[in-house]
Symmetry: C2
Subunit: 246 residues, 2 copies
């Protein structure tokens, strides 16, 4: 048996999420179906770095699986390509030591969230950018975003629907906001993320930009572990799992 | 009665074209439906700068219509916005003199065609960029594209399916090819375009880039009016009607 590590890009629009669920099509299911076909019906299970929610996209999701087939690395990519739907693309496949684990060995993840901060729409970006047609004070948002960096208890930035039992302390190594024309790009890197964490961070930044909340809302919410001090949860379709580091 | 000129952006993916046809949903139909609703059921017909084919997109298609409603210009945009599907966006509306005609008064049009010149796919651009995973000599294509500029008989770059009875002499004022990362952008401006003309121009450039045809294929095809000397017709989904000038 050999272990293979893959990087996959997907447009999450048509999926009810990444992980296999009783209802609705998932990305994991599509990949497992293709691998099972390659293995002549033997069911192949994949383990990914973590799930993504319904509508969320990935530029660099990572998964691993075990196989008894001896296929050169570049052949995995080409063979999977012929079996994948148009909205999923396995970019690379590499043999890794058998103790590599796509979920447990994650060192850091990067997410990006895109917002169209303009009254006008962009029909071509409607599935990948959240349209927020209000006046925003971008400078204020750029200051606020820096409060996310460092090691904090992110309870205030976690959905109440979480099933997590461990602590909610995470280290954010990079949090930046960039303006590109009418779009805002929020880049956030950290050693781990809670349920809906990036989307609540983004919602908080937008409410600060609108003037509904002050900049110090972020340190206060972090200190008081108070979800109500943080902002709304932005929709999934503006979010990308950008990169996973091991 | 007053005449209104509108600029509209649309994602052509879900449409069987622009102009009303017996089968399949069209962009014109959707716009007329919205205007008819605004006019309380009175059927409003729109006249556009020209049709676009199935799957072709627009950043700046132009149409006009006549109305007896007195609505301020910015209200037209807001009212239409509430009635439009997610893939059509009426960007602007202006009152124009009653002799303005969106089709007959066109002075120039600009089209853009996008190609992904890379082995790898981009799932997020699959509906708006033509994936052409072959090695291309871009410098050769950049030289070739210049042969399109000027006044020529474009018979060789017109689909045999055309129903046009007039002459096929057109003036191209600008023809450029740009590389942006893994994407090629073909920009072409002219006083008029024949059926499938931009898509055949693009296909010819790609065959030159691949080494299947020589650069002088273009002047020869133009001189000899020979469709067979020109290249294949690239698919509609990489094409954008970018701007219409009056």
């Amino acid at each position: 048996m050999a272990r293979v590590k893959c990087v996959v890009e997907y447009d999450g629009t048509g999926y009810s999420g990444y992980q296999i669920q009783p209802n609705g099509k998932t990305v994991q299911e599509e990949i497992e179906k293709a691998l099972t076909t390659m293995h002549k019906g033997e069911h192949i299970r994949i383990i990914s770095s973590g799930r993504t929610d319904a509508g969320v996209h990935a530029k660099g999701q990572v998964f691993h699986f075990d196989t008894h087939l001896s296929v050169p690395e570049n052949r995995w990519v080409r063979a999977l390509e012929t079996l994948m739907p148009a909205d999923i693309y396995v970019k690379s496949a590499k043999y890794v030591p058998e103790d590599f684990h796509a979920q447990f060995d994650v060192k850091a993840k990067e997410y990006r969230y895109y917002v169209r901060a303009s009254k006008s729409r962009d029909v071509f970006r409607r599935r990948t950018v959240f349209h927020f047609p209000r006046n925003l004070d971008i400078e204020k948002m750029e200051k606020a975003v820096k409060y996310f960096e460092g090691t904090h208890d992110f309870t205030a930035f976690c959905s109440a629907k979480t099933t997590l039992k461990g602590n909610k302390i995470r280290t954010i190594s990079r949090a930046e906001l960039h303006r590109n024309g009418e779009e805002l790009e929020f880049i956030v890197q950290g050693d781990g993320f809670l349920y809906n964490m990036v989307r609540i961070m983004m919602g908080t930044l937008l409410e600060i930009g609108e003037g509904k909340k002050e900049i110090d809302t972020i340190p206060r919410a972090l200190d008081e572990h108070n979800r109500r001090l943080a902002g709304f949860t932005t929709p999934g379709h503006g979010l990308f799992l950008w990169e996973v580091n091991y």
